[in-house]
Subunit: 65 residues, 2 copies
């Protein structure tokens, strides 16, 4: 049911320069990010409706952060 | 320089059931998640070193959250 590929975690880890990261840690990171994404989208959805719109725009995401 | 594919944002948006999300909003969401991932990995890296390890494990990620 994962939505963000683990390869994306690898790319971010390499960019940061962290040397060794266990597979379990990558999975935990992905899960945290997916939960955060869901919460952000839910809040942004309420914010866009509150503004009388049906489309979530960039500003809704930033306000939801 | 993006590490998380936009398609992952689409999958999460569909799961939440948000009807319409602008492309700009998806990009903003991705950027927030990538920044959050970097910050989490940096903190987890310090936490693992503090514990005398060189490998980041799941518990470091959870502590960094």
């Amino acid at each position: 049911m994962s939505k963000i590929p683990l390869a994306a975690m690898d790319r971010i880890i390499r960019e940061i320069g962290a040397e060794r990261v266990s597979e379990d840690a990558k999975e935990a990171l992905r899960e945290i990010l997916e939960d955060e994404a869901k919460e952000l989208i839910r809040r942004a959805d309420r914010i866009s409706k509150h503004a009388g719109r049906t489309t979530i725009v960039k500003e809704d995401i930033h306000l939801a952060k």
